[in-house]
Symmetry: C2
Subunit: 441 residues, 2 copies
């Protein structure tokens, strides 16, 4: 191995994750030196606010506003992009790769929105990308996909990858509280942003799913094709009924290979309370991966936070340092397949998926209603697994809740049935539809 007494990192971003990285390098520098036989240190940082006081000491780090102080410095061996966003971050990652510097990034948005460009550049330059921090914080699940499960066809990815949503749904379930109320509490506690749309709307989970799919299948998917639904429509009533039926409600990011395409979707889902994912509570994340040989695996841990995410960043910095020291930057292709096998992977339209469904109708409590609903559904080959009417109406005009659980059915047929049922005269309110994830293996 070439003798190098230190690996110098140029850090973009001194926010929560950047500060976590500096704290970890300070605290575990000696451990890391024992691993590498060289020191791993941040020598330069770039931030929009170099003058700002930071909680973590910046001794020995030259801080600037100018990206070129890092990008044009031949003594910087690795670039860590921890700014977020897709404008400056995109230019920084591309410029770093063009300058021959391997990159670590925690930027799921960049990877989800510009996969062909970012992965393409890494392939072109024969450089590795450290991405572990971009999905599920400190959980080494991307490493499992690229390396640990490299011998397997991935048959299913089912992730709880947004801590805010999981916190809210866990609290709603434990306390019977409404979404708005729990969201406000989560905002007070710092588990939700002032503008929570990106998290509770499912977009954050969608971007993470895109990265998982890209790595699982050595491919790039078009993020806008991924179906994304958030959790704002989930009510305590549905969570309560689901529990009575043996289910928990989780925001899931789901992907499955479908011939030459992939099924990829984010939405609230009912899962059996006996499934391990149902026990993943609060802000924790977990990704359930099924391989054709390994069968079921679960990868669980903290999905956010400066130190957990920082741990993934520093793990990748160690990995890239080992690549530099052993002169093997090209060892691991960025998407775990050789360049000529990377393909654009089409997402199957939502209409074509099959699922079981939880349907809650609000209807007038009179004979014949259930027959009319089930006739519409039967005409579209949707068969009913169970029916559940929690209570009877006090007055004949009062609406009652009728819950149907379907067998596997085609989304297109279910949506058409709901459109046909909604205008019927006995319907007293909007119908709730939540998919049920039954797991294939």
């Amino acid at each position: 191995m070439p003798f190098m007494s230190s690996i110098n990192v140029g850090l973009f971003g001194l926010g929560v994750v950047g500060s976590g990285v500096l704290e970890i390098l300070r605290r575990n520098g000696e451990l890391i030196r024992r691993r590498l036989g060289a020191e791993l240190r941040v020598t330069k940082a770039v931030t929009a606010h170099p003058e700002k006081k930071r909680a973590v000491p910046l001794d020995g780090i030259s801080v600037s506003r100018d990206p070129d102080t890092i990008l044009k410095d031949p003594n910087i061996h690795i670039v860590a992009e921890l700014m977020g966003g897709t404008d400056l971050a995109r230019r920084v990652v591309l410029d770093a790769l063009n300058a021959g510097k391997p990159v670590v990034t925690a930027n799921k948005a960049l990877l989800a929105l510009h996969p062909a460009e970012i992965f393409g550049k890494a392939y072109e330059k024969g450089l590795p990308l450290g991405l572990e921090a971009s999905v599920a914080g400190g959980i080494p699940v991307l490493r499992a996909l690229r390396e640990g499960l490299a011998a397997d066809q991935i048959l299913e990815i089912t992730g709880i990858v947004n801590g805010t949503c999981n916190y809210i749904l866990t609290k709603m379930s434990e306390e019977g509280a409404a979404f708005d109320q729990v969201l406000a509490e989560a905002q007070r506690l710092g588990y939700a942003e002032a503008d929570p749309t990106f998290d509770v709307g499912g977009f954050d989970a969608g971007q993470k799913l895109a990265v998982l799919v890209n790595l699982a299948y050595g491919a790039t998917v078009n993020f806008p094709d991924i179906h994304v639904e958030g959790i704002a429509g989930v009510t305590p009533m549905d969570i309560g009924y689901a529990r009575q039926l043996g289910y928990a409600v989780k925001l899931l990011a789901i992907a499955k290979p479908r011939g030459e395409r992939v099924e990829a979707r984010v939405h609230p889902a009912l899962i059996s309370r006996s499934h391990l994912l149902a026990s993943v509570g609060g802000v924790f994340n977990a990704v359930f991966l099924t391989g054709d040989n390994v069968e079921s695996t679960l990868h669980y841990g903290r999905g956010a936070g400066g130190l957990p995410t920082g741990s993934a960043v520093v793990g990748d910095l160690i990995d890239l340092s080992r690549a530099i020291l052993s002169r093997s930057l090209g060892r691991m292709p960025p998407l775990s397949v050789q360049r000529e096998h990377v393909r654009a992977l089409a997402v199957m339209p939502m209409d074509e998926i099959n699922s079981e469904y939880y349907l809650r109708f609000q209807v007038q409590d009179r004979p014949g209603v259930l027959a009319q609903i089930t006739r519409v559904m039967g005409d579209r080959n949707i068969s009913i697994k169970s029916m559940f009417q929690p209570s009877q109406a006090d007055h004949p005009e009062d609406p009652v809740q009728v819950v149907l659980i379907t067998h596997q059915a085609l989304e297109r047929d279910v949506q058409a049935s709901l459109r046909e049922i909604q205008p019927m005269p006995f319907v007293r309110g909007p119908t709730q539809m939540i998919r049920i994830e039954t797991f294939e293996k």
Copy 2:
């Protein structure tokens, strides 16, 4: 990268795991070729019974009884040792490394019993060791320790790593059945060996714990110093009481750093039913790892079986192939630290550990008994967290069960108390002691 159209593997052992490997290479050969840009194939196999018919086709594989057909063949690039045992396997692994061939092994016994020799040889030769299959089958948990969590000090390892024991304890818990009865059923179903001692005695879990500790701390531990207890003494009564108190009973492999030493022990333990490990049922394995930055992580999946374990072997073969193709066999030090930092790590004597304890006394049901027991314990600084007497005796001479849960106490003090209490006149049978694992973070 050097152009190599194929990586040739020499396989020792054509049993369950060896056959799984061949099946995976056959089925997913194209996927693996896309990853490597070269074919990964087994060209030679060595087995004690070359003439035996195998379920998996051996086309293109030259099968022999002679290890040298592989070890002396310059066209063999990687040796996979899947025989088990520590005699021939030891010679094969050492000879392969001496011949400059990187090694993949699923052999926990070899790694646990001869760590200094095996890891030492790999370091001396600058060659990687693929070990993923040696612990917890298809779960990529060793990769998590060597790479994913490389930035962290590992504060706790808590594993359910023996599927036989977990199956038996799960069944005992679900059915209230006795150990012997469930063991017999497990033997019928093929989940337990005809001679079950190695599994149910905790030795298998102990060997896996040794490997986990070696990798977590870049060290070698002396396997005989690891405290190992099996599950034969666990009764349905204890499992029932534990459940009433909010606990599940699991066979745990536990390790924690203790200054310059390590706590490392295998025994049945009570864990909170709300802990994720309590939901790990049947033959599944899981390893709970806590890092100083990443905090809690869980790694779950199948711990045995030809395909799940074969998946880990082939994952390692892919990894070593990438190392060969990128000429970076020395990239990853076998224990994830540089050679000069590998140390012999002392195991803390069991007497010095601290734990909470579940103690079930069988005593005469008369006033003053509890006072005498708690006085003995109080004199040794053991304080009682809760007491539970499930029933009263019909006749004054009949024994009753008295369950005490202690606060954290020193093992030496607990053992001394039990020795002091056992001969007391009111004691009507042996006392049951099961440690309670409370998790530190």
